[in-house]
């Protein structure tokens, strides 16, 4: 396919979508961004360091056939999805010209470690404590492989590794395996990955009737976005178009501390479950408090047609779902519309998180020293106004809900001195000093280019 000049309308026009947005070039977009991961899944993340640019580019060339653009994993040729992304350092090492490097988002150029103070990675979360080589200039290429089963995953990881092994100038510097826990839940016990924006033109049906599909340009570069404009597309156009920024964070979860906390603050198992739900905004099954205020409803949690179909407009004071709960902070839905200060649609994100580490056995309140948590993965067109805005304004701060002292009770950047308020009759419950339950082990800001862009990278000669 030939390269189109910037701003040109390409491909057939998708007339089914509102606003006549150009159709997504699904075949040029890496599959990881637009499609749900399989469930259950197993996966592997590899970080590579490129010593020899020519080897790095040859590796990209060999990986391209393993990528399944845009498609659902319905007919698994390979049985696994591979996603390839690059850090700023990586693009530089591969020989991307400086004027092109300069055209990427400033936050991407700086890298996650340089943004640490801004996004709340301080104290125990600061880059000096990160797992090496995360946050260093040694991370160049990130590979993620996800598959419904271990056999297929091994097959694709083997092929990727073989491609890499023949390239002595490329070194694997980090590996992290992940798998869905047998319960289908993440380490704290909650089902995750439910609340996702519907991307206009991507072909997935909306799950929240209260939220019109979000313009594709909010997630994929080169398409109109919610502002009526377009996110800056890195140059040359062939490199930027159909790419997406990826945030990747390894987040250790202090499961024993979390369980001990709930145990201390609740008298019964029912109270524990309710307190846990008030902190997250959903019950462990995934059933949203907004639709199941009093007790978990596993059938609701498991039903994709219902478990995301709700808003908060009728619960502005948070008696059902606290304004300070994690999911309501991360996506306030319609609860801020009447305030005319913020447009929630400008701060949405695609999440592709996975679990790592063994589960802490049921009922155990003592830390067993194991590393467990989630690999948080974000995909979007804006590191700053999507990922960093949500992290700084909504999770790490409480100004927007009129509680400047409060932070996200589950994942906020806290030193353990922030309160959490649960509105309830007759008297609100205020928990002082919520301890930190999540520790940042490291992460990277990456760019996942489209397929044409990968070929362009492989063909660089500098």
């Amino acid at each position: 396919m030939s390269t189109l000049p910037p701003g040109s309308v390409h491909g057939p026009v998708d007339t089914t979508a509102t606003g006549m947005s150009p159709a997504l070039e699904i075949d040029d977009i890496q599959s990881g961004a637009l499609h749900e991961r399989p469930s259950p899944y197993v996966g592997t993340y590899l970080l590579l360091k490129v010593h020899e640019p020519a080897d790095g580019r040859e590796l990209i060339r060999r990986l391209i056939p393993l990528l399944q653009p845009g498609r659902e994993l319905t007919e698994p040729g390979l049985g696994a999805w591979l996603t390839v992304a690059f850090t700023y350092e990586g693009l530089k090492v591969l020989g991307v010209p400086q004027d092109s490097l300069d055209s990427f988002a400033p936050e991407f150029q700086q890298g996650m470690a340089a943004r640490a103070a801004e996004i709340g990675d301080v104290g125990a979360n600061s880059p000096e404590h990160w797992e090496k080589p995360l946050g260093t200039s040694d991370v160049h290429i990130a590979l993620a492989a996800l598959s419904p089963d271990a056999a297929h995953l091994d097959a694709v990881v083997d092929r990727a590794r073989r491609a890499q092994e023949q390239m002595p100038g490329v070194e694997v510097v980090w590996r992290q395996d992940c798998y869905q826990l047998p319960t289908g839940r993440t380490s704290f016990g909650f089902k995750d990955g439910i609340g996702q924006p519907t991307v206009e033109g991507a072909g997935t049906p909306p799950t929240n009737r209260g939220e019109l599909p979000i313009k594709a340009g909010e997630f994929i570069l080169g398409y109109p976005d919610e502002t009526g404009g377009m996110a800056p597309v890195p140059t040359p156009d062939v490199l930027g178009r159909n790419g997406t920024y990826i945030v990747f964070r390894k987040l250790h979860t202090r499961v024993a501390a979390y369980r001990q906390y709930l145990h201390d603050k609740a008298r019964t198992r029912e109270e524990e479950a309710l307190l846990g739900a008030k902190m997250v905004g959903r019950w462990q099954s995934g059933a949203p408090l907004a639709l199941a205020p009093d007790e978990d409803d596993p059938a609701l949690g498991a039903d994709p047609a219902r478990n995301n179909d709700f808003g908060y407009a009728t619960d502005l004071r948070g008696f059902t779902c606290p304004a300070g709960s994690h999911a309501r902070r991360a996506n306030p839905r319609d609860s801020l519309d009447h305030e005319n200060s913020v447009d929630v649609r400008l701060h949405r994100m695609i999440r592709r998180g996975t679990s790592y580490g063994p589960p802490l056995p049921d009922g155990v309140l003592e830390d067993d020293g194991e590393d467990r948590g989630i690999i948080f993965v974000f995909a979007g067109a804006h590191l700053k106004r999507q990922f960093e805005f949500v992290k700084t304004q909504w999770l790490n701060d409480g100004i927007f809900i009129g509680a400047p002292d409060e932070k996200d009770p589950l994942v906020g950047a806290t030193d353990g001195s922030s309160p959490f308020t649960i509105p309830q009759h007759p008297i609100r419950r205020r928990l002082p000093d919520v301890p930190p339950f999540v520790v940042t082990r490291g992460g990277e800001y990456c760019f996942a280019p489209g397929l044409r862009a990968l070929r362009w990278l492989a063909d660089l000669t500098t």
Binding site: T227, G229, E339, S341, F400, G402
Partner: protein, 178 residues
């Protein structure tokens, strides 16, 4: 100065930051600008006696034409770091003030986000001094006012003194005397 980034986002007191924009009025638009401001002042939220401006995250708003109506100052106090909300301004608050900004230079429909940023940043000047007489966000202040109103109602009850004797109500009793 102008769009000197080192001075952004200006002075912050607690959760609140000062936010001032200095515009140039389009030549010949002085009278129309005044009319737009009178219209605003007659709109819900801005009428004398109203306290519910449509934008919930600002403490107050003032529009000041000056220099013979060739310039316009918009000054407010914003809950949060306003620069993080730049894109949001374009889609929400700026539209609410559309009738006013029509009359200032640089507001030509603001077709792109870049033009919105340019529009705001070229007009923004950080204060040289800024202080507040109370802390807290608009939401907290409103809540405090509501709670005080309820407390005054309690005090109006003939049995209030007796009820406030309960040890749990001690902090309330401490502020009940005047």
């Amino acid at each position: 100065m102008g769009s000197d980034t080192s001075s952004r986002p200006g002075i912050r007191v607690g959760p609140t930051s000062e936010f001032s924009l200095f515009f140039h009025v389009k030549p010949g638009h002085g009278e129309a600008l005044h009319q737009a401001l009178r219209d605003l002042q007659a709109a819900p939220g801005y009428r004398p006696g109203d306290y519910e401006m449509p934008i919930a995250s600002i403490h107050e708003a003032r529009f000041v034409p000056f220099d013979d109506d060739t310039r316009l100052l918009f000054a407010t106090s914003f809950d949060g770091p306003w620069d993080a909300y730049m894109e949001d301004f374009a889609s929400k608050p700026l539209r609410l003030f559309d009738a006013i900004f029509q009359h200032v230079v640089g507001y030509e429909g603001l077709p792109t986000l870049e033009s919105v940023k340019d529009f705001i940043l070229s007009a923004q000047q950080s204060a040289g001094g800024y202080a507040r007489n109370y802390g807290g966000t608009v939401k907290e202040i409103r809540k405090a006012a509501k709670v005080n109103e309820a407390f005054q109602q309690v005090l109006d009850d003939p049995d209030a003194a007796e009820a406030l004797e309960h040890p749990a109500l001690r902090p309330l009793l401490d502020v009940a005397a005047d």
